[in-house]
């Protein structure tokens, strides 16, 4: 690892780091600041990256950077609302009306996830959107795998309660 420079190892995960920070902070400006703070720390700690999981390593630093910001402004109001510059994954192959419907569903899901407490939100994002394994998530959030699993269970229960009933029409099993 030591023969590799920071840019080659860490920067390929910058999008993922930003996505994670964006879900933690719920707005673009804070997410950018958190990732920038995290990268400054990551350069400093780069020599401590022993194992080869650079993404989980960077995420753990992002999480710490976010946490120290939140505790710095403890007592402050909830973070600002999203500024609308999100990159939604609406399928450009769809016709405008279908795209509008899809965008509506995407917004609904995003709002529902954002209502979850941060520790539920993050395990859900790490698992479903970043596609991390329990082991990787455990390394990021520094909790045992069993805790990761029970947080995921509770996050999913909460989320499905929030989304019920309109967004969950596919419950019927063939």
């Amino acid at each position: 690892m030591s023969s590799r420079v920071f840019e080659e190892v860490v920067l390929p995960h910058l999008d993922a780091a930003f996505n994670y920070a964006r879900w933690l902070t719920k707005n673009d400006a804070d997410a950018e600041d958190v990732v920038q703070d995290a990268c400054v720390r990551a350069v400093r700690f780069f020599s401590s990256l022993r194992d080869d999981d650079a993404r989980a390593w960077l995420f753990a630093i992002v999480r710490n950077a976010w946490y120290s910001r939140v505790s710095r402004r403890a007592g402050a109001a909830e973070p600002l609302p999203p500024d609308g510059t999100m990159h939604d994954p609406a399928d450009s192959a769809l016709d405008p009306e279908a795209r509008l419907l899809q965008q509506h569903a995407v917004t609904r899901v995003r709002d529902a996830i954002e209502q979850l407490p941060a520790d539920f939100r993050e395990v859900l994002v790490l698992r479903e959107i970043e596609g991390m394994s329990y082991k990787e998530i455990a390394a990021v959030v520094r909790a045992p795998i069993g805790t990761v699993m029970s947080r995921l269970a509770r996050a999913r229960d909460r989320l499905s309660a929030i989304l019920k009933p309109a967004a969950m029409p596919m419950e019927r099993v063939p």
Binding site: R4, E7, E8, V9, L11, P12, H13, L14, D15, A16, F18, N19, R22, W23, D28, A31, E32, V35, Q36, C39, V40, V43, R44, D52, D53, A54, R55, A56, W57, L58, M86, H87, D88, P89, Q102, A105, V106, V109, R110, I113, L124, R127, E128, I129, G131, M132, S133, Y134, K135, M149, L152, A153, R156, L159, L163, A167, M168, M170, E171, V173
Partner: protein, 241 residues
Amino acid sequence: MTCNDVERDLEAFVDRELAADSAAEIRAHLGTCASCRQRVAHREALGRLVRSAPYYEAPDRLRARVSGQVQRTRSARRVLTWAAAAVLVVSVGGAMSLVRSTAARGDAMVDDVVDGHVRSLMGEHLFDVRSTDQHTVKPWFLGKLDFSPPVVDLASIGFPLVGGRLDYMSGRPVAALVYQRQKHTINVFVSPATDAGTGVTNRTLRGFHVRHWVRDGMSFWAVSDLNDAELTQFARALQST
């Protein structure tokens, strides 16, 4: 296997984190229990919804800010590093220099594979041929390579083929097949094998998972930031086609 067992292992089951035999037991139970079936289907539907949520990409200005900052921090630290290195050279007398294990040499290919993957994602050159049709992708390689890579679409199990390109690994041209799993790209580098290979090699390097196997005289390297379990599922499916 009771409904309580399913309840207990529900998350691990839908997240494919359960051991194969336990997962098989649950599947057998689902065959006979409609309410557990519904519970699993509900979880899977919820997963699909969450995965439709936005993926926020880092803005270019952030990338620029970070690069600039990294360089400034490094030049400030380089002075300290050189000072530390000088002390080390004096005390060790260079006796330990350049000790590299054979394992490290064997890792060179893994390194190349991860480099190839990162290059394809950072640059604009992910595709030479962009198509979800294996019958378009496979002929594209004709005349460009001295071998014909096997090309299969795995869309039916959630890993659609999205294209291919010509790439270079260890100084020789290889076929790169590109698959997609939700927001994750999987590169599969295919070239004629130089040895028989022994089973599937699992590696993780710089946050990317790598699988390597040899089949029918072809060497396969699959690489992605997808989680281990799903990459294993993908590699298994590709091996059994």
